[in-house]
Symmetry: C5
Subunit: 354 residues, 5 copies
């Protein structure tokens, strides 16, 4: 299913460790945005390729290299050599169907996770894989497409007094993570609004789309759970990993973020339960309405079907038909009819049918 | 969904750590109530702002500062400086959409949790975030609104012989926690009464609102579970945390409270199961009634529809119609009719339809 | 809900640690039964109050003090002083809405749990809180009411050769626990018999009470699970607690008892699953019957409603009506009627409706 | 419920540790089969009672004593004295309603578990408790009845070259366990065949027994889960217990067996899920059929009921009735009738009812 | 059930440890393919039997022996002797109904797992057991049948520059594992596509096969969960086992693979949830349609059944029938009829039936 698992068949028969791009190419030419900054200075540039000259890997401040478009295997390989990235990590970057993942090597930590956003036009959740590689003096971010949720971070870096400028590469990595998690929360809010919206409609009577919407919400929540739950586990590695490049003094930020993710998972569970309950209630409501409909039908049919037979009898054309000639037959007919109606109504009332 | 997750969008693009108030302003001007006490003396005052002169942070007894209304960022910041509160904690105080949370620093422990109450007028649960910060000689409590569940604690402090007066700041913090947990229990009792009330009504026949009420109860119980479960985890930190300012001799109080929370969660689970069972039974009841209704319909229709046809036949106007002239046709008609009725009743009886 | 959570509102605003009785007073005046025994001698007496003279707390054998009726706060306080019981434990004794609980202090271990019994007259489970306090040379038991499940233990103590007489206070505490757990098992048996009884009835057709009984069984099993599960956890503390007064040589008895409780929980789970399955099957059965009923209705109605129309046509009084005059119309009418019946029966047969 | 929990009431009021037989006596007189063997020799005998003379407890090879029928308390007591069995274990042997259990004492290990078999005649699972006591040089097996699943083991022992003869008592105990677990697997296979059999039938239309069979399968699987899951836990004790008499060199056999039990539990879970799914699908199928039935009914009724009214109108005998006299009334009647039929068919087609 | 548990009855009564083939013979004569390679040389040969001459167990490079067809017990025994395989492992190889399993001995590690593939022709999952035995210088693979998913690995080995040639036996074992796990992912993709396909169809109206397909998907996903979950556990042993022959430098490959398996299990859970949701929604849809059908029926029947009775009344042939003679009876009849229709439509509209 394209939506949740990407086509791995391309790698079938390949030696593990071969660099192959798995995913949809979402951008024509890769774009590389570089920010080099320390407390005093800030240089921004945009490159078209990676080579040692262009990027100073020995710079002492923070160098943030943003790569948009990861289908260019050559470029990824060059970048790997330049920053001494582990080959298996390169492979993971290229495979856009990853479970959120943390990798720590002596000289760099890597986080692979998904940017989740709600595409209002298509009315669906879009997932884009992002890799954040944190080195002693650099942060590498690799995006599938050009969509850029990190512009506010860039804006803050441009402000000389911002915390980002006063801190090192690990703070930048944290700020990026924080932005990604904020996007999760905003997405969950959007889903939450849809859940609340449904809440009123399940009690209204004529809404054929409800089952479909409940299914879509359930699928979205299942997908969110699958996507965000591993992020919670991953956060814990950031503290505990032997080679963590995050500084102790910034641990409380990470802890805070990790608690936000746990909160998000709690809320996803809450919504999942609510949507399941909505479906149960929707069904109970359908049942309850059906009961009402059937009672109406049964009352009408049970009263008038026997009466119709009764009237039919006296419409028969038998030549020998004593009642026909009897003068009080017609008034008697109405008397019997009315007493049948009354006693059936009494019978239904006693059974509390109306 | 406003009810369960607050609008975090306001913080989007902000550097983490910026102080922004997230929530609804529930009070016009913050009110600050201060109690300074030790075994011998008690001073109560009400302030309009926080400044070093007004509050003696070096006092040796217990200083309890109650702040009602937390939307005034300046005031919060001043308070933070005065009591050396960690900046990230300040940020958490201002964000009223927190998961229950415990934070310990060397010089203060903080608890963020929710006061849950049942608003009978609105027939809904209200949640208000409260922060309790425990220092060596002070307790800070920060409320969203003016609603005050701590008045009984204040009353006890005014009594010179109360335990509160004989104990230190950690006992006060415990007494406040105890009050909050008592409110949880009272809330659960209220829900419990609603659950018991429903119990009888699911077996009554004409109650269109049941599905809606079951849904509301389920949502409330889901919300309670989400809100109270983390409080149970949080309690454990109070014992185990390295920097805990709670004194060993008061640990049995905390343990008792923690067990009460676990008990509360057990009861929430019990009620959740009961409400789920009620929904299942309600559905089974609807099904069972439908069966009854359909059996009545089917018996009436199956008997009288064929008979009506039978009567209709002899109402036809064909000019050649031998039975019409036959003298015993009419009595024979009734004979056949009655034998059809009897054999169908026999057929339905055998199938145990009535 | 009175049944599962007692009214804690009484304690609202009280300092934690105040002695307040929470529960229903089930006995007019407390009764105190004392047994003092060792291998050689046995003294039984019945007291009306607790005071040092009456009870020899320094006796070297085993002193078992049974208190029936715990609403007399003064008496509880006196007892507390006499046996040096921790104040918080006194508070727990008075609050009859406790989760099963274990408390160990250096000089006494306490177990608070519920005696569960099935009241056949009221057709409901009754729960009564019991506190067992084990000291070096005494056992204190505090009952809510006069109902006495411990008489057989007393009987055994009266027998000079019984194990109880040969052992110390911890064995007595174990024997009491054993009696309580035996009562759980008997209760579960009773429920089990009800579950088995239902088993046959869900397949019978006319049983309007089944849904209600299933709901009651589910509620009872939920309540049992909530009540007995913590007893399993509690048992483990008896082995592992630092201050356990149970002697190592009697650990195998405790282990056996603990396994019995786990077994009980297993059986409760089994019954819960069975009752849930019964509800599912009951619903499936209702559905299946409804199907049958609807097929009967549909077959009758689909055959005879069109035929009635057909007969109705030839009952019309149009002056120009060619078929009416035609001699073979009437036999032809029956021919067509029969062929309609046959082809509809064929149609329903093909769809496997009967 | 006799099926799953035996009547413990018999022990009510008894001192724990008293020897009482709980269960159904399944054999008139106990039978005792003894095999004494070592690498070289094999002696088989059948005894009627246990006494020191008959059984040489000092023999150096392996002595396997099979006792069929455990209701004779005297015999059990004698056996207990002879082999120095712990009194609590004797009590467990006599109580045939045990959770699978492992007990280790310095001089013997005991396993209490159930032999589960499928009784094809009664179409139900039979459970029989078996106790295996492993000593340094003996193995005691205690059966409730005469049914003997261990004959193949005996046959192998009779073969001088068999592994059993070359090994010691722990290997014999393992071989017996292996036989018991094999029986579990065979039982699960039997259930599996029933599950597969049902699979096809839930899609067939006329099968009133399905709900009942699903319920029975669910109950059987619940019972198997409850019975076999603790055996998995128990296996682990065999490795880890301090006093384990199993030899290290045979641990891989135990590990293999333990994995087989885990596999069995997996398969039970799989079948449980399948049966639950079958019930859901069966219900969905009933719903789907009901839909079909109701559509047929509604189409017939909605077309012909209005037409019958229409025909009825022209069967009225009003003296002033202009249409009656009109020459084209009758052909017009058919025209209108046909157009009503056509437009209703069109209406139902548009709603995709057929 | 043949599909999920193989017939173990064959081993009943056999001593554990006897070599018996359990499974279906899938190939006539075993085929043995051997590859002996090191960095420089590569020898490929195909044997018909195993004997010391043919296979050089002392070779220093890597010897990969592929055995297709494992029903020849003699051959397996010979192979066992040649490579000093533990007897219990030989037994496991022959029993094709194994839970995925890891075994480590000092001189070899063994993995038993299943190759899962989707057989498009039969539209079902096929499982074939494979054993991989890793020695210091050899890898043994034992297949049930001739189907060969390892050809791509062989192809890579033939390439002198491939990683396989540059590495040792543990890398080959890893490459084989990788191929197997890739097949799992491809299989899950196939299932995923079926799940997505169903997604649209549950909302379409006429699809009688949906319940059956949902059941099949659920069963397949249950089977996948049962098969793949233990593989995740097994992977962890590869790192942690004491005698692991995998080299530390290749651990990151194993870690990567293990994460892929965890990802696969996540996706299986996601699909399971989706399919369960689909069934719920399908049922809700059926209910919703039934409601609609019943409303149509009830509206038609409730309007026209009373009217038919009304018309029937005036078709009666009573000789004394005053209305019949009245001139405005017929127009009045229509007036009453229309007002009944209008008021019933108004009644149904008010109840929001259409």
């Amino acid at each position: 299913m394209a939506r949740f698992i990407k086509d791995i068949s391309a790698t079938k028969g390949q030696a593990p460790g071969s660099l192959i791009f798995i995913g949809d190419q979402k951008i024509a030419t890769p774009i590389i945005k570089v920010m080099e900054y320390d407390t005093d200075s800030l240089i921004e540039k945009e490159l078209t390729g990676i080579n040692e000259g262009a990027i100073n890997t020995k710079a002492q401040g923070v160098t943030w290299i943003n790569i948009f478009g990861i289908h260019d295997i050559d470029m990824i390989q060059k970048m790997g050599e330049l920053f001494e990235i582990h080959p298996l990590l390169l492979e993971d970057i290229l495979n856009t169907d990853q479970r959120p993942k943390y990798l720590d090597k002596e000289n760099h930590n890597a986080l692979i996770l998904n940017i989740l956003q709600f595409n209002i036009l298509a009315n669906e959740i879009t997932a884009e894989q992002i890799t954040i590689i944190l080195g002693q003096h650099f942060v590498l971010t690799l995006h599938e497409s050009q969509g850029d949720i990190f512009e506010p971070v860039r804006e803050r870096i441009r402000n000389k007094k911002s915390k980002a400028r006063l801190n090192e590469s690990d703070y930048l990595a944290y700020a990026l993570l924080d932005t990604i998690v904020d996007n999760y929360i905003i997405l969950i809010e959007t889903i939450g609004r849809k859940v609340e919206d449904l809440e009123d409609r399940i009690f209204s009577h004529k809404d054929a789309k409800i089952a479909e919407e409940i299914y879509n919400l359930k699928t979205e929540l299942n997908f969110l759970r699958k996507s965000i739950r591993p992020v919670g586990d991953l956060m814990i590695h950031l503290f505990k990993s032997e080679h963590s490049l995050f500084k102790k003094k910034n641990f409380h930020y990470l802890k805070d973020l990790s608690e936000l993710v746990i909160h998000a998972i709690d809320v996803i569970e809450l919504y999942s339960n609510m949507v399941s309950d909505q479906l149960s209630i929707y069904n109970a409501n359908l049942n309850s309405r059906m009961n009402e409909v059937m009672r109406v039908l049964t009352i009408f049919a049970s009263i008038f079907i026997p009466l119709t037979f009764f009237a039919g009898v006296y419409g028969m054309n038998f030549s020998y038909f004593p009642e026909i000639e009897f003068k009080y037959s017609y008034p008697l007919f109405w008397l019997v009819t009315l007493s049948i109606i009354v006693s059936l109504i009494f019978f239904f009332r006693k059974r509390k049918w109306f």
